[in-house]
């Protein structure tokens, strides 16, 4: 591959800007963020950034198939992208430049059906390129038109729905402490995307313990949802071999082979895990068995970015995701820290870009709307991003008690935040889960989301049991 290497020039008045190659052009066209500055890839000033965007707008989409930013020979993700590119699906947009592609996406031609048809013809680099010349409202509008829904024990990502991952983390994996947070979440109508625990102790024995507990809970309350312990993929493979009740296989993924090497897996590891989870046949209404997390900056932090900007590396991770038909994929957008996304403004922009690129490529995209205490961000920034993503049709967000993850030490959306989003924007949980909420009398009305004031009898018993333990 890499048949053509091009360089780019553009003049503004007496000044001529020069870009050595497509990846430099992509990096310099990226809206400002600290990670690209840290990598030494960012535009040196505001004018250079816009000039790069103007030059990028003139680049034909076809060029991304020839000028791979990371060489085909060096990287299995590039090989995946090129080898699985669908030429027939690409056909309707094959004549467009990046700038034309933005117009086309915003036009009436780009219906939900059309966006579904072309998605396997779009490469991550094309999605990243067009996102760089789109404003936030463009990203929201096109994301909303894309529809990607998936199923396991319920249906996630239907239009007008917003699901939550119930994240009951505990710093010592104390089972009673975790159960207390799960109960809190269920009574706040959260947990339809998954009940997903980040284990403090990351090994197979612990994974098994946590899986047995959540599995028992889901079975005894007959909850139409799935569980997941977010341990390393190789631990989950081993847990499956030991007959643990695994619903979903989790893995953090990145957009370059070297990033994934640093995470300790490759595409064949994921394929093995995917097959193993499918063989359990535990889904009742669907067979999407993978759960992936991503986030801008992971490649640079592993020194595995090949001098490609962090947003393009992130979009490439979605090529890995879509290969394995996941139930859930979310960017953990503000977790990585201010050296990659400095403040609320950069986190919000990145969250919208990631959601857009994921959806355009056909990935069932959610977002961990989050920040750390050393970032210049706060609850108001998260309210803004949550609301924007709600409008954009984001599949799911996190739900944790009072926004405070006491194990991972960062802040994400609370159970209450999900109810805010549902009520303010008229969004609903997954339909199967919503029916369960009504059956158990947790929720009491279908339109403007509200909760019953009394605790359902079934839960009263479990609260007593837990409190006595």
């Amino acid at each position: 591959m890499n048949k053509g290497r091009y360089s780019f020039h553009h003049s503004v008045g007496s000044k001529t800007y020069h870009f050595n190659d497509l990846k430099e052009l992509m990096a310099k066209a990226t809206p400002a963020r600290s990670g690209d500055r840290l990598a030494g890839l960012a535009a040196s000033n505001a004018e250079e950034r816009v000039v790069a965007q103007m030059v990028l707008a003139e680049v034909p989409l076809k060029r991304f198939l020839e000028d791979t930013l990371i060489p085909y020979e060096d990287d299995e993700i590039t090989r995946l992208i090129i080898d699985e590119h669908n030429k027939a699906a690409f056909e309707p947009i094959s004549h467009l430049t990046v700038g034309d592609f933005r117009n086309w996406l915003l036009s009436d031609l780009a219906s939900t059906e059309m966006l579904t048809t072309i998605r396997s013809g779009i490469t991550p680099e094309m999605a990243a390129a067009v996102s760089k010349i789109m404003r936030n409202q463009d990203l929201i509008l096109v994301s909303k038109t894309c529809q990607v829904s998936t199923a396991f024990r319920n249906t996630i990502g239907l239009p007008g729905h917003l699901s939550t991952r119930l994240q009951p983390n505990h710093p010592t994996d104390d089972l009673t402490g975790i159960a207390a947070s799960i109960l809190d979440g269920l009574l706040y109508a959260n947990g339809d995307a998954v009940i997903g625990i980040n284990p403090a102790t990351d090994n197979v024995t612990q994974t098994r313990r946590l899986l047995d507990m959540t599995n028992e809970l889901i079975e005894s309350y007959e909850i139409p949802t799935q569980s997941c312990v977010l341990t390393h993929v190789t631990n989950t493979i081993e847990a499956i071999e030991k007959n643990a009740p695994v619903d979903l296989v989790f893995q953090s993924i990145g957009g370059t082979q070297a990033t994934n090497d640093s995470f300790g897996f490759n595409l064949s590891t994921l394929a093995e895990a995917h097959d193993a989870a499918l063989s359990l046949n535990r889904g009742t209404i669907g067979n999407n068995v993978m759960y992936f997390e991503t986030g801008q900056g992971s490649s640079l932090s592993a020194n595995a970015h090949h001098m490609v900007d962090q947003q393009t590396c992130e979009a490439r991770a979605y090529a890995v995701a879509r290969k394995f038909n996941p139930l859930l994929v979310n960017t953990v957008v503000g977790f990585i820290g201010p050296e990659y996304l400095y403040d609320g403004k950069e986190i919000i922009r990145a969250g919208l870009e990631d959601h857009f690129c994921g959806k355009l490529l056909g990935v069932p995209m959610g977002c961990d709307v989050c920040y750390t205490n050393h970032a210049d961000a706060d609850q108001n920034d998260m309210d803004n991003l949550l609301t924007l993503l709600g409008v954009a049709g984001c599949n799911f967000i996190m739900g944790i008690p009072g926004s405070d993850d006491i194990m991972l030490n960062y802040q994400t959306t609370s159970f209450h935040d999900a109810l805010y989003a549902r009520r303010a924007m008229g969004l609903r949980p997954a339909p199967e889960f919503e029916a369960w909420l009504h059956k158990l009398e947790i929720a009491n009305d279908h339109n403007s989301f509200s909760l019953n004031s009394h605790v359902p009898a079934l839960f009263n018993d479990s609260i007593k049991r837990l409190a006595g333990s």
Partner: protein, 286 residues
């Protein structure tokens, strides 16, 4: 609506308790520090809990942005006999301020030129082979360092026999206090001091309920460009977390093991986490 009904409605609206629905499972907070059972105003977080969260976040942000007071920390440290015998050195990383520190982790890993010069002088004057350099770094919470560094060293230094001329005692360099530093700055310091090992005490990223948590990182044979795989870490040292005595015990164990095996990091980790060893150690008479 009758006047009676209107009065009744107004009364209900005035009753502030009626606008908050409490959660009877609040008592499960005995089992977790998670913010469960907060209750709700409509579907939103009640005022009391909303403001409690804001206070916790404000404390965490202040911990990140409050500069290290070299004067305070060196006064506290020099109050310890063991430290005043060793002396202290004030150093700075290449990050000039907090904004730069937060965006350029690479600057926080290296000393600036005047600080390098200071260490070279120390080496030139004394020409000693140090066994250990102890480096006190603000990291992401100067508050954690001001709170925990001195009481921790008061527990650690006597265990290392710093005041005794025993063969197994440690020859320790002057205590280095660093502003705007990351963990890896310990390796730079260890290299310049020609120390066999380095122990970094650093302010950890503040959590909402832990703005004052200190971490320890041990490297045997420090050199530039090492990764975390070469270090051993002890985390969450603070009044409400791991106690100073327990932390000092673990650190002493790791230091002695590192010295015997001449290595640190992943290969040392398994044994340091051997709980039966630590338990046995705890049961020993003081």
């Amino acid at each position: 609506m009758s006047k009676d009904e209107q009065n009744k409605q107004a009364q209900t609206a005035k009753n502030s308790e009626a606008s908050v629905t409490d959660n009877p499972w609040e008592r499960l907070r005995a089992f977790t520090d998670a913010r469960i059972g907060l209750g709700r105003a409509g579907i939103s977080i009640p005022t009391k809990h909303s403001l409690a969260f804001q206070l916790a976040h404000a404390k965490a942000q202040d911990a990140v942005h409050t500069p290290l007071s070299f004067e305070n920390i060196s006064t506290d440290l020099n109050a310890l006999k063991e430290v005043s015998d060793l002396g202290t050195l004030a150093l700075n990383s290449q990050a000039k301020n907090r904004q730069e520190y937060l965006q350029r982790p690479d600057f926080g890993r290296l000393l600036n030129d005047p600080s390098c010069e200071l260490l070279n002088q120390d080496q030139g004057n004394k020409n000693i082979d140090y066994d250990l350099a102890i480096v006190v770094v603000d990291g992401l919470s100067a508050f954690a360092i001001e709170q925990n560094a001195a009481p921790f060293l008061a527990e650690l230094l006597p265990r290392l026999g710093a005041r005794e001329a025993l063969s197994e005692s440690w020859n320790i360099a002057p205590i280095c206090i660093v502003e705007q530093g990351r963990v890896a700055i310990g390796d730079h310091i260890g290299t310049l001091l020609n120390a066999k090992s380095v122990l970094v005490l650093i302010g950890e990223r503040p959590g909402l309920s832990s703005p004052d948590s200190m971490g320890l990182y041990l490297t045997w044979s420090p050199k530039l460009n090492l990764t975390d795989a070469s270090r051993n870490c002890i985390s969450n040292i603070r009044q409400a977390g791991m106690g100073y005595s327990e932390a000092a015990q673990k650190a002493t164990y790791l230091l002695n093991e590192a010295r015997i095996k001449k290595l640190s990091g992943v290969q040392l980790k398994d044994r340091s986490e051997d709980e039966s060893f630590l338990e046995a150690e705890t049961k020993k008479p003081a």
